[in-house]
């Protein structure tokens, strides 16, 4: 499998070089997990439901060790639990808008009447295709830009989770100086920054916070460029920071490398990166802000199976277990009491976490 994928990468790269003289996009061949995915669905539990789920991933797809994989985990769980039939398709960088619409329509034509669109880039196409297929149920992850009677908008309270890791950073910092590295400056990532800064200030009002973004839209390379992440993190460490939180997708690997080289620490994002990051940098990750896409996807499918589809915005917040912090590695065991106290305060509404950065 690994070999074939490598081969595919080489061939695809060659083809790209020929056609494009190398565009700046990161066209990675998606693996053939699609076939595997459907295979598992027939192998495991016998079908208990006639719900057929079509997954439309964003660029990167299953196997990106991050955003899409988290959604895929939710799908896998649903397959194991309900024995539903599924199929998957992945976006390609640089495709026309019509290709996204076509992908959704293809899923519907193939009989998959529950469609999950992973990522805010699907908002315009979901709006269009949902209007043309009123009987199909849609889940749109990370966006409320498309609304309709058959669209469930699954969003996360990333600011609440970030608040907790911000507090953790402030409690653990010895220099009183911490950092935030965002991938691309879009409102979604600003939510991470806002929560992080508010959390840090909550426990230490005098703390210094350095915040930066790797790229500005429409340049989305900030989500997939470890070299940029490393440079940004090195600058912050040199300026006195000792813990850096990243919300930069694939660029986060560079932040971890910089932390390892500087003998400093870092905070992961989306999944429990002390488990998923490269082994040699796992040790620098004191905690991760967990964004549980798997929970959202699983809960959505569960509702479908039970016939409880609900349209409209559903925010997976701390109270719903949609976001959290991780304790893998035991580096923050001494402060979990304080963090859990803050967590309870947010759940109770005593603390209201801002969604956009101050100033």
């Amino acid at each position: 499998m690994r070999q074939t994928r490598k081969f595919a990468a080489v061939v695809a790269a060659a083809a790209l070089a020929l056609t494009a003289c190398g565009s700046d996009s990161s066209e990675e061949p998606t693996d053939t997990g699609t076939a595997d995915g459907t295979a598992t669905s027939s192998d495991t539990a016998e079908p208990m439901s006639d719900v057929k789920v079509g997954m439309a991933y964003d660029v990167g797809g299953r196997g990106d060790q991050s955003f899409n994989d988290a959604a895929a985990a939710g799908l896998d769980q649903a397959v194991a639990e309900f024995g539903i039939e599924t199929t998957e398709a992945t976006a390609v960088d640089g495709e026309p808008e019509s290709a996204r619409e076509e992908r959704l329509q293809q899923l519907i034509d193939a009989g998959y009447t529950t469609v999950i669109a992973v990522g805010f880039a699907y908002a315009p196409s979901v709006a269009k295709v949902a209007a043309e297929n009123p009987d199909v149920h849609f889940a749109l992850i990370d966006s409320t830009d498309a609304e309709g009677d058959n669209i469930a908008n699954l969003t996360f309270a990333e600011h609440e989770g970030s608040f907790l890791v911000g507090a953790a950073a402030a409690l653990k910092s010895q220099s009183g100086n911490i950092g935030f590295v965002g991938g691309v400056q879009v409102p979604l990532i600003e939510k991470f920054q806002a929560g992080y800064e508010a959390g840090a200030k909550e426990v230490n009002p005098d703390i210094t916070i350095q915040s930066t973004y790797l790229t500005q839209p429409p340049d989305f390379s900030g989500f997939g460029d470890p070299a940029k992440g490393k440079t940004a993190a090195e600058g912050m460490f040199q300026a006195g920071a000792d813990i850096i939180y990243h919300a930069a997708g694939g660029s986060g690997g560079g932040v971890f490398t910089a932390a390892a080289e500087a003998g400093k620490q870092a905070i992961g994002v989306d999944s429990d990166q002390a488990l998923t990051a490269a082994p040699e940098v796992q040790d620098v990750i004191i905690t991760s802000m967990l964004k549980k896409l798997d929970v959202a996807v699983f809960e959505f499918i569960k509702a479908e199976v039970e016939g409880n589809f609900e349209a409209g915005a559903q925010e997976f917040n701390l109270a719903a277990g949609g976001v959290d912090y991780s304790t893998t590695g035991g580096k923050i065991d001494d402060i979990t009491d304080q963090l859990d106290e803050l967590k309870q305060k947010i759940i109770d509404g005593e603390i209201e976490v801002p969604t956009s950065p101050a100033g």
Partner: protein
């Protein structure tokens, strides 16, 4: 010389046909090696398109065509304008900002915005032209650099020109153009709810102008002459520097049009989802179409056919859509080789023919010597 020669035309058509066949075989081989279902892939790729697919093909082909013509203008002059990508993005941005202000009513807004796009694209390409003429900087290098600069510049400007209503959404874009200036599209394909870009007409117009200017005017002759032999052009009184500059600006101006069908037909603003990478597709399509206005049209249709038909691959054949990049890459590779082979065959045919004619005239001179003389 200009006589109709069926053998020559046959040869010209054989090259792309062979290239496609080779691509077909190599892709099958790749699929086979990877253990993917070869037959399923081809069945999916060649299944009869639905009406909505025809619409998508025509739409994709429209932008591909404009992009390829922009590249071809440079090619004819021996200029390798790799910067079409940056030129169309920055031009689309400028046109989107202009049209979004709604200073002009309805249709007038569209026309002036298109002129703004052409001017911006021409200006951006003109930088590379100026550098080449005044400083001898290779346009390959400068246009690649200008692509990167265009990306940065547009990002930076987009933050400034951002539509206040898009704040809070993850889709950052310029102000949406007023409805009166949006082009709804043409219902060309029966049975499809989707519309074909109105600016398909613009692409046809550009194709015609390209054919006319390059093939039928003094300017076009000078341009082609300069492309084929600079020294010969100089000898016949062509100002090469001015031709270089003009060709580059023209190429950029046409590149500026690439984003127009997208801007007025789909997005209605310039934002983070505006389709990138069209300039590179244009290079491939211009090569495949041999810089010929009709050839490019067929190449653009082939490209869009592959693109649209591949959308079903993941769902119906469980094979990644990227396989199409392999097909496209191999077609291109094979076609370049095939054109060269055909060119040599043509030269040989020409030599044989001339030799025969000479031999007929002067029976005493051996044919071989006559040909090489």
């Amino acid at each position: 010389m200009k006589r109709f020669e069926p053998r020559k035309i046959g040869l010209a058509l054989i090259a792309p046909a062979v290239a496609i066949l080779v691509a077909f075989l190599i892709t099958s081989l790749v699929l086979l090696v990877m253990g993917d279902p070869v037959m399923d892939v081809w069945r999916t790729m060649f299944q009869p398109p639905l009406p909505r697919h025809y619409v998508a093909m025509l739409n994709s082909a429209t932008v591909f065509y404009l992009s390829a013509v922009a590249v071809a203008i440079g090619f004819r002059m021996n200029l390798f304008n790799i910067g079409v990508d940056g030129q169309y993005r920055i031009a689309s941005f400028a046109a989107a900002v202009f049209a979004g202000q709604a200073w002009l009513p309805g249709f007038l807004n569209i026309i002036v915005a298109i002129i703004v796009a052409m001017a911006t694209g021409g200006l951006w390409a003109g930088i590379a032209g100026y550098l080449k003429v005044k400083r001898g900087v290779s346009e390959v290098i400068s246009t690649i650099m200008l692509n990167a600069i265009a990306t940065g510049l547009v990002s930076w400007l987009l933050a400034k020109a951002r539509d206040p209503e898009s704040i809070g959404s993850n889709e950052v874009h310029t102000r949406t153009i007023p409805e009166s200036s949006q082009l709804e599209g043409l219902a060309l394909v029966p049975g499809a709810s989707q519309k074909v870009y109105t600016l398909l007409l613009l692409a046809i117009l550009v194709g015609f102008a390209y054919w006319f200017v390059l093939g039928k005017t003094r300017f076009g002759f000078d341009l082609r002459a300069t492309g084929q032999s600079e020294t010969a052009a100089v000898a016949s009184g062509v100002n090469v520097k001015r031709m270089t500059m003009t060709a580059m600006v023209l190429s950029g101006a046409v590149a500026g049009l690439v984003g127009m069908p997208l801007l007025f037909g789909v997005y209605h603003n310039y934002g983070t989802t505006f389709q990138p990478g069209l300039g590179f597709a244009g290079i491939a399509i211009a090569l495949l179409g041999r810089n010929h206005p009709v050839g490019i049209a067929f190449a653009a249709l082939l490209w869009s056919y592959l693109e649209v038909q591949s959308n079903a691959l993941q769902i119906q054949a469980h094979v990644s859509k990227e396989i199409v990049f392999i097909i496209q890459g191999v077609i291109l590779f094979a076609v370049v080789i095939a054109y060269e082979v055909v060119r040599r065959a043509e030269v040989r045919m020409e030599q044989v023919k001339v030799a025969r004619e000479l031999a007929e005239k002067e029976q005493t001179v051996p044919a071989g010597q006559g040909a090489s003389a």
